[in-house]
Every structure is written in structure tokens, then in C-alpha cells.
């Protein structure tokens, strides 16, 4: 699957553009991270790609065909989209939610067959969460819910997954495990295009990375080239240090000696150093 976003502009009807001239390309089964500060329109961009919002101008094509010409069913066979936070209303068992991923593979008014349910179960097994199969979706933890949505997306058998800040609600350990999972999906032949607030994750995956700002895409390329102290400093508006730890590179935000500005205040005598 080849996704091309070209000059996309979008506003919520307030006259203020959320997206302006956004352009990048993505090809599955690559992994790609979209970095950008709050409010730069990362989620809006994904919603435009999924057709949930219509851009004011610009084109979005998948395999050369504009996304708005895709039926929802054909779109589902190309990409699965997982939004930031899903607040479920009904207590469906997890296996039912995962089986819903099969909807685009079954007849319009048919029910999923036993094979579909088994296929859904296989995805839970693949993610190691088959013990959740009968549990109500409303009663599992946020991290488990995230994995269940990934299982539904896998049951959908798309060429790529669009993930909107998949690590936003995960604890420190689960965030890391999620990055490992992304690599596993990639190895399985499924592309992952995700927005993230963690430059570390892009560096860890060393994947294709696009840095977004108000005026469009600032830079696109492999993470080790694009994720630089200058580029990050510019979009987040704080000093960023990138340094090696072992064989890996990590990002540390803020001034290295005086990140919270305590020394200066102490010296000028306005505040006592705590």
C-alpha cells in the first residue's frame, strides 16, 4: 500500500487552519512515526486520511486512488485505524470485539462464521492475550484494551495500521513493549503509521519519521537523520539533548545542568534553592 498526502489543508470551520500544506508519503510495510507538538494536527491528519474529516484542499491517495473514492469496506482492507482512546459503552466479550475486525471480510448481512471467530482468537493468541477472550471489554485495563484493538485490526488483515498515539495511555513498561510489538507487526508484513509524542520511540525503531509543524512537514527521513537536537528543539520549543546510552540513542529534554532553572534563581537571590 502506498499512501500519498499532498498539500492537505484543513480547518474546523473557525477560519484557522489546523493543517496547512501537509505533504508526505508512506509505503507499507514500513514503520513510520509522525512527530509534532500538541495541536499541530496529527490526529486531524489521520482522520483526514481515514475520511472521517474532509480536507479543505489537497489530495490523499492510496495506491494512486483518492481515498474518498474508496468504499468503507475496501478502505478497511487497506488500512485499520485505531483512535486515541476508545470508551466502550457495552460489555461485549473481548472475542466479539476482535471478531468485529472480520466485518469487511464477510457478506453484507452475514454473521461471522466459526472460522472467523477462530481467526479472531488466533490474533489474541498471537498477542498473548487469549486469556481475555471471554472477559467483558469494558472491564479490562487500558493497556489490555489497546492490545484488543490491535487484535481487531489484525483480524481485519489490513496492509497497514494507522495508530493515533498508541502509547499515550500506557505505563512505562507497556510503552516499551508496544514499540517491540510494532517491530513484530512490521516483521509480519503489516505496515505501521503512527503519531507519537516520544522521539525515543522513533529512534528506537529507527524508522521513517516525519516532523510536523504548523506550516507542514519540516523534515522526513530515517529517524537517525531527522530526529536531531535542532529539529526537536524547534518544534517543542525547549532545549533537547540526544546522547548515546550503550548502543542506543536517547532524548533528554531541557538544559542538562539546570533543567528547572533553580541555579539562576538561587544566584539572583529571588528564590531559595529547594
Amino acid at each position: 500500500m502506498k499512501l500519498a498526502v499532498d498539500g492537505v489543508t484543513f480547518d474546523y470551520g473557525t477560519g484557522q487552519n489546523i493543517l496547512e500544506g501537509m505533504s508526505f508519503t508512506y509505503e507499507s510495510p514500513d514503520i513510520m512515526c509522525l512527530l509534532g507538538c500538541n495541536g499541530v494536527g496529527k490526529s486531524t491528519l489521520l482522520k483526514c486520511i481515514m475520511g472521517e474529516l474532509s480536507p479543505a484542499s489537497g489530495t490523499i491517495t492510496i495506491d494512486g486512488k483518492p481515498t474518498r473514492q474508496y468504499s468503507p469496506r475496501d478502505m478497511a482492507l487497506k488500512v485499520a485505524y485505531i483512535a486515541q482512546m476508545h470508551a466502550p459503552t457495552f460489555s461485549y466479550p473481548v472475542i466479539d470485539v476482535v471478531t468485529m475486525g472480520r466485518t469487511s471480510h464477510i457478506g453484507y448481512l452475514s454473521n461471522p462464521s466459526d472460522e472467523d471467530v477462530q481467526f479472531a482468537y488466533d490474533q489474541l493468541v498471537y498477542l498473548g492475550i487469549e486469556r481475555l477472550a471471554e472477559r467483558p471489554y469494558t472491564e479490562i485495563s487500558g493497556g489490555e484494551r489497546q492490545l484488543v484493538m490491535i487484535a481487531s485490526a489484525l483480524a481485519q488483515q489490513p496492509e497497514a495500521m494507522l495508530l493515533d498515539e498508541p502509547t499515550a495511555h500506557l505505563d512505562f513498561g507497556n510503552q516499551f513493549k508496544f514499540v517491540q510489538l510494532v517491530e513484530r507487526l512490521h516483521a509480519k508484513g503489516i505496515g505501521v503509521l503512527m503519531t507519537t509524542h516520544f522521539p525515543d520511540h522513533a529512534l528506537l525503531l529507527d524508522c521513517e519519521t516525519a516532523i510536523l509543524s504548523k506550516g507542514g512537514v519540516v523534515a522526513q527521513g530515517p529517524a537517525h537523520k531527522v530526529v536531531t537536537e535542532e529539529a526537536l528543539g524547534q518544534i517543542y520549543g525547549i532545549p533537547i539533548n540526544i546522547a548515546p546510552v550503550g548502543s542506543r540513542k536517547v532524548c533528554v529534554p531541557g538544559d542538562l545542568d539546570d533543567p528547572l532553572g533553580r541555579i539562576e534563581k538561587f544566584e539572583t537571590g529571588t528564590t531559595k534553592r529547594r
Binding site: A76, P88, T103, V117, Y121, D122, G128, K177
Partner: protein, 361 residues
């Protein structure tokens, strides 16, 4: 996230060893229980009344009617009277109360599902007030009971159309639709009040008030036939959409990602559920609570899965309204309006179930 996610890595693809299979839990008692219950309710209801007819005789009379035989019995001086008592007086009423109960319950389950809101009911989009207005205008104009019913159906459907027109001017969200429904509903409620105000207070006004409270007292097979085609079509559509209803009830974004044309499919099921509600209201008047209580009870029994929820709601709704109508006609000779009784019985029943077993969302 799970600790054992790494362990399964090596075992997953390629290896043709033991593949874990999924065995779903089934509730095999569901189908027989929910087929037999309404049949029992109907048979028992047919025996109730001043004229005593026992259950075996009721079965015999119904059987004779279906096969076209003449009913003969030594127990009665006039078997033909027993026969017509069952066939022309009791059966239409019992069948209609079951159908209305089933229809309202199914519509309620569908509305709660697509709006993902426990307070949604068959009347959310204003069908009840629309149909009420239709009936009231028919009464004021002095139309026949058939035309009053027809007018109720017509205005019930007009309300739905108006709601969609109002909502289509704005975004595609289901909240807009509910808001539009509330607006149109209030408009028709005011119009009904206006009609009540201008109606002749000795004759027409009581008739309007009584109609709005709901009753099965005047039903006949002819009235039933008038609603049956629309009723059955909508019912078939809703049952055909049972899996899509599941997906829709999870969330708009998720449903869209799973490959569903959310706006189109949601509109199809909402229109079907509204049509069913409109035809039910047209024959029975406004009967509240069935469409809210019964789907909740059904969900407690079988969970939110529409593949089970729709049949269970149908069966439960039929039994519930059939029994309540029995109470209405058997308790006093004056016959209490059913819309009043559903509330008086429905609310405590609902509270009881909330306390006994949490209403799950």
C-alpha cells in the same frame, strides 16, 4: 499489556502443532425458553375474562380456527359463542399486545445500541408525539378509527423524516440526530396541547387524552392487518442487520475502521426502528417504558450481542406487554389504560433488577 506476549512469538506461524481453538460459551436454553414463553403467555391470556374457557379448550378453538373445522364441545350451551369470544374478542387483543410489546422492545434495543445511550427509547426521535398529533388531529376532525390510526402512522413517519432533514443540515454525528429528534418531538407535543385546547371538551378531549394514555381495548384483526406489512418489513431489516448493529454499537470511529458505512447503515436501522415504533403507537397509543425496561432486562439475560439481544427482546417484550394487558383488563372492570400500568409496574421492576443485579453498560 501482557507479560507472556513474547512467549507466543515462536509458536505462532508456520508450526502445525497444537493450535489453540476457541470454544465459545453457549446458552442452549435461550432458544427454547424464549420461544415457549410467549406461546404460554398467549394461551393463558386467552383463558382470562368473564367468560370462562380452559387452556385445552382454547388450544382446540385456535386449532379449529386455523384448520377451518367447526368447534364442538359438550361443556358449553353455545360453543359458537366460546369460539367467537376467542377469535374475535380475545385473540386480536392478545396478539396485538404481543406484537406491540415485541416491536417497542426491539426498537428500544436498537436505539440504545446505535446511540450508545441507556436512555434512548423508541420515542427518542419524536415518533410518539408525532403519532399522538396524527391521532389527535384525526379525532378532532371526527375521522373513523381506521383513519385515526392511519393518520397516527403517517405523522409518526413524518416526524422521523423531519428529524432527519433537520439533522442533515448539520454534522453526521448521532448526537445531532437525537437533538433534532428532541426539537421535532417538542414541536409536536406543543401541537398536541394546542389541539387539546381547541378540542370539544365533552367528547373529543377525553378521546384524545385516552388515546395518548394507550389502550388495546379497540383492536381488531383489521387494524392489525393495517400495520402488519410495515411492521414485518422493519422487523426483517433489523434482524438482518444484527451483526452490523453490534459493530455500530461499539463506536462510530471503530465501526468505520472495520469497514462499515456508518452513516448509511445507521440511518437504515434508525428508520426501521422508527417505523416499527410508529406503527405500534398507531395501534396502541403511547405506551412508555416497554422500550426502555425490556431491552435492559434482555441485556442482563443474554448480554449486548444483538444476535441474541433482538430475539430475546422480542420474546420478552411480547410476554411483558401481554401480561400487563392481562392485568389491565382483569384487575378492574373499568379497564385501566395500559400506558399508565406499564409505568407503575415497569419502574419498580426495573429498580428491583438494578439492585439485584447491576444494569451493565
Amino acid at each position: 499489556m501482557s507479560q507472556d506476549s513474547q512467549n507466543t512469538e515462536s509458536a505462532s506461524p508456520g508450526v502445525a502443532s497444537i493450535k489453540p481453538t476457541f470454544k465459545p460459551k453457549r446458552q442452549p436454553w435461550l432458544i427454547p425458553v424464549f420461544i415457549i414463553a410467549p406461546i404460554l403467555c398467549i394461551l393463558i391470556s386467552l383463558t382470562l375474562g368473564a367468560f370462562e374457557i380452559s387452556v385445552p379448550e382454547v388450544i382446540e378453538i385456535v386449532w379449529c380456527g386455523i384448520t377451518g373445522q367447526e368447534f364442538t364441545s359438550d361443556n358449553y350451551k353455545n360453543p359458537a359463542l366460546a369460539y367467537s369470544m376467542v377469535w374475535t374478542v380475545r385473540l386480536p387483543r392478545v396478539v396485538v399486545s404481543c406484537l406491540v410489546g415485541a416491536g417497542l422492545a426491539i426498537a428500544g434495543a436498537v436505539f440504545q445500541g446505535v446511540f450508545r445511550n441507556p436512555l434512548a427509547s423508541p420515542y427518542t426521535l419524536g415518533v410518539s408525539n408525532g403519532a399522538g398529533f396524527g391521532a389527535a388531529i384525526g379525532i378532532v376532525l371526527g375521522l373513523s378509527t381506521f383513519l385515526i390510526q392511519g393518520s397516527a402512522i403517517l405523522f409518526g413517519l413524518i416526524t422521523v423524516v423531519l428529524t432527519f432533514v433537520v439533522a442533515s443540515r448539520s454534522s453526521k454525528s448521532s448526537v445531532t440526530l437525537v437533538l433534532a429528534g428532541m426539537l421535532i418531538s417538542s414541536l409536536f407535543a406543543s401541537l398536541v396541547s394546542l389541539l387539546k385546547f381547541v378540542a370539544d371538551p365533552t367528547e373529543k378531549l377525553p378521546q384524545i387524552v385516552y388515546w395518548l394514555m394507550g389502550s388495546f381495548s379497540g383492536v381488531s384483526f383489521e387494524k392489525l392487518l393495517m400495520i402488519l406489512p410495515l411492521y414485518l418489513i422493519s422487523l426483517v431489516v433489523l434482524i438482518a442487520f444484527r451483526w452490523r448493529l453490534n459493530v455500530l454499537s461499539v463506536g462510530d470511529t471503530e465501526a468505520r475502521s472495520f469497514g462499515i458505512d456508518v452513516t448509511r447503515d445507521r440511518n437504515i436501522v434508525i428508520v426501521s426502528a422508527s417505523v416499527i415504533s410508529a406503527v405500534c403507537v398507531s395501534i396502541s397509543g403511547i405506551i412508555g417504558w416497554v422500550g426502555i425496561v425490556v431491552p435492559h432486562l434482555a441485556r442482563m439475560i443474554c448480554g449486548p450481542d444483538f444476535r441474541k439481544l433482538l430475539p430475546v427482546s422480542l420474546s420478552l417484550g411480547a410476554c411483558y406487554l401481554c401480561i400487563i394487558d392481562d392485568v389491565c383488563r382483569a384487575l378492574t372492570t373499568a379497564e385501566i389504560p395500559i400506558g399508565v400500568v406499564t409505568g407503575i409496574i415497569g419502574v419498580p421492576l426495573f429498580l428491583y433488577f438494578i439492585y439485584r443485579k447491576k444494569v451493565n453498560w
